[in-house]
Amino acid sequence: MSTVPSELAVETEPKGVLPTGSAPTPARRVITTLRKSPAVVVSVCIIVFIVLLAVFAPVLSAITGWGPYDYDPSAIDSDLGGIPIGPLGGISAEHWLGVEPGNGRDILVRVAYGARVSLMIAVSATLITTTFGVIMGMIAGFFGGLADQVISRVMDFLMAFPSLIFMIALLSALPAGNRPALLVLVLSIFGWPYTARVIRGQTMSLRNSEFVEAARASGARPLKIAFREVLPNLRGTIIVLATLAVPSYIGTEAGLSFLGVGVMPPTPSWGQMISTAVGWYAVDPMFFLIPGTFLFLTVFSFTVLGDNLRRVLDAGDAAS
């Protein structure tokens, strides 16, 4: 019985195909696939709506004639303790989503400005943590050794922190100043390890893939390899991470504002509005329901989008 080497095989199934080792799924294919899912379409519409609401908040304010800090004593009944006049928390032609009890501020306009603040903080934090997280993750994953040890220890340390407590304590101890900027800073400090950890893991598996070895063999410098070979393959992961980070930060900021350490009044923030609404929830439930619903819809939509992006990008990688 002769033994013939199996290199003479007709065609070998590629062994050990890495899920992230294939060419990135073209953007167009992703978009077409996503368009077919009704959940995604609805979510994107909601996101677009909220973004427009935030961007055009001043315009909205001009149209309705109410600013976010304008009181309207005529819309509330001071004899009854400041309850809004009219059904559903004072919805009327004047105030499309009603007014806040106690001061009569227009809720729609405040929700719009709140959207501004929340989105700005969340997007800024996402940009910072994604950038920093990708850089740190790639350094740790690609170069290994001491760099990896140091970065990983720092990440473990930050993730072991009871971050909520710390953020609250930090924010309450610091002077008022520029609250949104402070929030972005605090969120970013505790947020980047989560991105970095995922990137690190993927970089490590990519490091051992064939095309990286080929680049290395051809004498390319490590930095070049990192940017040319590894980073493009991380594109999908980065997009998904960023998309899912936004709702996470929106939620955290809302929570911090709810506790009174985030965005300070009178600047509106959805979490803060809900916090104020706690005192009124039995008599004017709309006051907490409206900002709460906006908060929920925003977080929900981003999460649906992120989930579906991940699904499509995973499937794309697997198919190729």
């Binding site: 019985m1 002769s2 033994t3 013939v4 080497p5 199996s6 003479l8 095989a9 007709v10 065609e11 070998t12 199934e13 062994k15």
Partner: protein, 286 residues
């Protein structure tokens, strides 16, 4: 096509071939319409013989074996006829097929590491296969298991039966898979690329082992591979598949010495020979 009760599947119809496949077609629904991954395949396997199915990835060779086992992935349908010892397998309920699987037709897969559950000892995994079909006590099953491991030449079987899959080498894991398949004494063994994931030297050992066990037990075997060289060592009959269709079939000698289909010829031409001139390799396999 008698849909006899499961119990009678055990009794072969007198005068029947071990496995007879006729006009087997496997179809999957896709977004672009239904696709036939196996088109009208027909072949037979006799007891004690080995049929080699050769083809590239995507040729439908694995799907054929999954159809025989009734293990097609979700959405797949098989039409035609698959007769084991004279009994029709297609159209049977999952419950009926469960009696067939392992006991009458056993399968060995390509990657032994991922084909074994990493959370359980190899002993347990073989025992459960044995007990699922033969019942009996755990102690009895364990004895059978250790014997099976010894038969596939796992050293120190009595101790290693309690080890986990990751504690064995690739070649040993494949032996364990073979032991698991053969401890049930099946009539037919389907080996789907059993040596592809292994080193060359280990590959030879596994092929030797399979041949020896087949001689001892008289089991029929279907050996699926993309590697023509391996086929030439193990099979009496060969079936060449491409894109789901059966391109050529015949005995091994016929195929290798006198291939009729252009595809088969191209496959053989792609094998370098010692007397080939250096400057030219005859046409590619495509």
């Amino acid at each position: 096509m008698s849909l006899a009760s499961p119990r009678t599947i055990s009794i072969p119809v007198p005068g029947s071939t071990l496995l007879e496949v006729e006009h087997l077609t496997v179809t999957f629904p896709t977004s672009a319409g239904p696709v036939d991954v196996v088109k009208d395949a027909s072949f037979r396997v006799e007891s004690g013989d080995t049929l080699g199915i050769v083809g590239e990835s995507g040729s439908g060779k694995s799907m054929t074996s999954l159809a025989i086992m009734g293990l097609l992935p979700r959405g797949g349908t098989a039409t035609g006829s698959i007769r084991l010892n004279g009994h029709e397998l297609l159209g049977r309920t999952d419950r009926e097929m469960r009696r067939v699987r392992g006991d009458k037709v056993a399968m060995v897969f390509q990657d032994p590491l991922s084909s074994l559950n990493p959370y359980y000892t190899v002993g347990l995994q073989i025992e459960e296969a044995y007990r699922a079909h033969n019942g009996g006590s755990r102690r009895n099953a364990r004895t059978v298991t250790i014997e099976a491991l010894e038969r596939v030449r796992i050293a120190d079987a009595a101790r290693r039966v309690d080890h986990y899959p990751h504690q064995f080498s690739g070649g040993m894991r494949q032996r364990i898979m073979i032991a698991m398949a053969l401890c049930l004494e099946p009539d037919l063994l389907i080996a789907d690329e059993p040596t592809t994931a292994l080193d060359v030297t280990v590959q030879a050992q596994i092929l030797d082992l399979l041949a020896e066990l087949q001689r001892e037990t008289g089991t029929g075997m279907i050996f699926i591979t993309h590697d023509l060289a391996v086929v030439s060592q193990v099979a009496q009959d060969v079936l060449v598949m491409k894109d789901g269709a059966q391109v050529e079939s015949g005995t091994a000698e016929e195929i290798f010495s006198n291939p009729r289909a252009a595809y088969t010829r191209a496959l053989l031409d792609a094998l370098p020979r010692i007397d080939d001139p250096f400057d030219e390799l005859k046409g590619a396999a495509r």
